[in-house]
């Protein structure tokens, strides 16, 4: 066991003790999930998207199950940056988590403002910039599907922090690699891929959308093949660290993402189904490495054979 090097580097500035991360919006601010997981053992936790002011979020229904997945339109409900600092940070500090703050905003200024305010807290090890939420009217995909917007946001956020900046990309585009390229050029340390796919569902008796917001974001095992293809596309075309996300439900899935090009990976929807998934997947990945004589987990990244 002692021989296995499980640390992963995401760019030059961020080293995680292992590649398992908890995805934004799927573990809140860590309190509840910590009843099932020792957060100090997890590579990193990414907060629910934080915005400058608190957001109430969308009216119900916000979630609905689909075949092998789910749709959500939470609408970035969150406590806002101020309350996050006063009410949520202390706990995340106490449990020794490696913390990445995910930021959502409706303007470039709001992004930089948020990052500036949070930048001084030592426990925050980096920022994941959510330019790809499909469930809000302002910002969200208007940014995420627009190359210029992603370039602008990356550039502006870059100058207000020295900490790692990770751009979370939208899969709802035909050329995700170009977005990764722009992020790299404008100074991002890494990209994470993917956020949810735009989807919907209707009630056939009321003829209303099952989600009040009409469309929602599709996540879960159903989207894994799409997420893998996006990670692979970035990996083949752009030299930037990738954090793989999308439909991981077992350790085998996580390995697939690393082979396809991811330096680390995030667990989302599966946390709802199995709050201990992060720990179990960590174990599974470890066993795979031991059994396959892999000494450094980072060697898996992009190790596909074509």
């Amino acid at each position: 066991m002692s021989e296995l090097d499980f640390t992963v580097k995401i760019g030059n500035k961020l080293t995680l003790k292992n590649p398992v991360m908890l995805a934004s919006g799927t573990v809140g601010y860590g309190n509840e999930i910590s009843e099932f997981l020792d957060l100090s053992e997890i590579g990193a936790i990414v907060t629910k998207s934080i915005s400058l002011k608190p957001r109430k979020g969308n009216p119900p229904q916000r979630v609905v199950e689909t075949t092998g997945g789910m749709l959500n339109a939470i609408g970035l409900a969150n406590v806002g940056v101020e309350k996050f600092i006063s009410e949520k940070l202390p706990f995340l500090e106490k449990v020794n988590s490696t913390l990445i703050c995910n930021i959502a905003a409706s303007s470039v200024e709001e992004y930089t403002e948020c990052v500036k305010i949070l930048d001084k807290y030592k426990i925050i090890k980096g920022f994941e910039i959510n330019v790809s939420c499909p469930n809000v009217k302002d910002g969200g995909l208007i940014f995420g599907n627009n190359l210029e917007a992603v370039a602008g946001i990356t550039e502006k956020v870059r100058v207000v922090t020295e900490k790692p900046v990770i751009i979370k990309l939208s899969p709802n585009v035909s050329n995700i690699a170009e977005f990764a390229k722009v992020a790299k050029e404008r100074g991002a340390d890494a990209v994470s891929a993917i956020n949810t796919l735009v989807g919907t569902a209707f009630d056939i008796y009321t003829r209303r959308p099952k989600i009040k917001n009409i469309t929602g974001g599709l996540s879960g095992p159903a989207i894994k093949p799409v997420a893998l293809a996006k990670v692979f596309e970035i990996s083949r075309n752009v030299d930037i660290p990738i954090i793989g996300i999308g439909g991981i439900s077992k350790w085998e899935d996580a390995i697939e993402f690393m082979i396809a090009g991811a330096s680390a990976f995030q667990l989302g929807t599966i946390n709802f189904v199995n709050p201990k998934a992060a720990k179990e997947i960590l174990e599974g990945v470890k066993n795979y490495c031991l059994q396959n004589n892999i000494k450094e987990i980072s060697g898996l990244t992009g190790s596909y054979e074509l």
């Binding site: 919006g25 799927t26 573990v27 809140g28 309190n31 509840e32 999930i33 009843e35 099932f36 629910k48 109430k56 979020g57 969308n58 009216p59 119900p60 229904q61 916000r62 979630v63 609905v64 199950e65 075949t67 092998g68 997945g69 789910m70 959500n72 939470i74 409900a77 879960g220 095992p221 439900s249 929807t269 946390n271 709802f272 189904v273 199995n274 709050p275 201990k276």
Partner: protein
């Protein structure tokens, strides 16, 4: 909060579409309170993906019972479970009924499968020496899930058992049973019934707690998927964490 595989002790059929599942779960039994719920994985597969929420219907010794109506895929799978099968249960979750206040008479209002949490609640209320009246309504006699409870009144939409009408009609018709007492109302049932009950209790200024439902992804506060609007502030409560039981004054249905 625990998460565990439990062995199923019994699957007892109640009506055509309802049944009771009982598991042996000492720790869960110890922690549970009436009105709380569990989030259950109905199979080991990825379909259905999400857990399904069910009220804790009864706790007896180390046994925990759920009362379940078949309404779709997940509940259909649960209906087929047999003694000895395993069930992965996350719970107890949420905030249950408040039974420590000073009321003397508990009025329980159940619509359909909404009767599920009441066997456990009745036990606890009895322990506290409260008077209990159960108003229990259903669509028809075949669907009515009678509890073996001495002080139970029934209604059915078609009049095939008890009063013809809904459970709010039943409540109206029997005002005299509680009109001068220090009562607290506990309601559980479909959305329209809860709305009617909310109106009834606000008009009559009765203290009332209702258990509400919502689609849920996680059941324990990490997905923000289960909002219900606060009556006093411009914000949402989370049904799985702040509820599922709310004072009927506190939320907008």
């Amino acid at each position: 909060m625990t998460i565990e595989n439990y062995v199923i002790l019994r699957n007892k059929k109640l009506t055509e579409k309802t049944f009771e599942l009982t598991i042996d779960a000492p720790e869960l039994a110890r922690l549970s309170e009436p009105g709380q719920f569990c989030n259950i994985k109905v199979s080991g597969e990825l379909i259905p993906l999400l857990r399904r929420p069910f009220s804790i219907s009864q706790v007896s010794g180390t046994e925990v019972t759920f009362m379940i109506a078949v309404t779709g895929t997940g509940t259909g799978i649960l209906a087929k479970k047999q003694t000895g099968d395993e069930l992965n249960v996350l719970g107890p979750l949420g905030k249950g009924f408040g039974i420590d206040d000073t009321f003397e008479t508990a009025i329980l209002i159940a619509g359909g499968i909404g009767v599920a949490p009441f066997p456990f609640l009745i036990n606890k209320l009895k322990e506290q020496g409260k008077e209990i009246i159960l108003f229990n309504g259903a669509r028809n006699s075949a669907e009515l899930i009678k509890l073996n409870f001495e002080n139970e009144l029934n209604s059915t939409d078609d009049g095939s058992a008890g009063l013809k009408g809904n459970v709010i009609d039943l409540l109206h018709a029997n005002r005299k049973l509680f009109v001068n007492k220090n009562v607290k109302v506990f309601g559980c049932g479909p959305h329209p019934m809860l709305k009617a009950l909310q109106d009834y209790c606000s008009t009559g200024n009765l203290n009332c707690e209702i258990s509400v439902e919502s689609n849920m992804a996680c059941g324990f506060g990490i997905c923000q998927g289960c909002p219900v609007h606060s009556a006093s502030e411009d914000k949402y409560y989370l049904i799985c964490k702040d509820g599922p039981v709310f004072n009927s004054r506190d939320i907008i249905l």
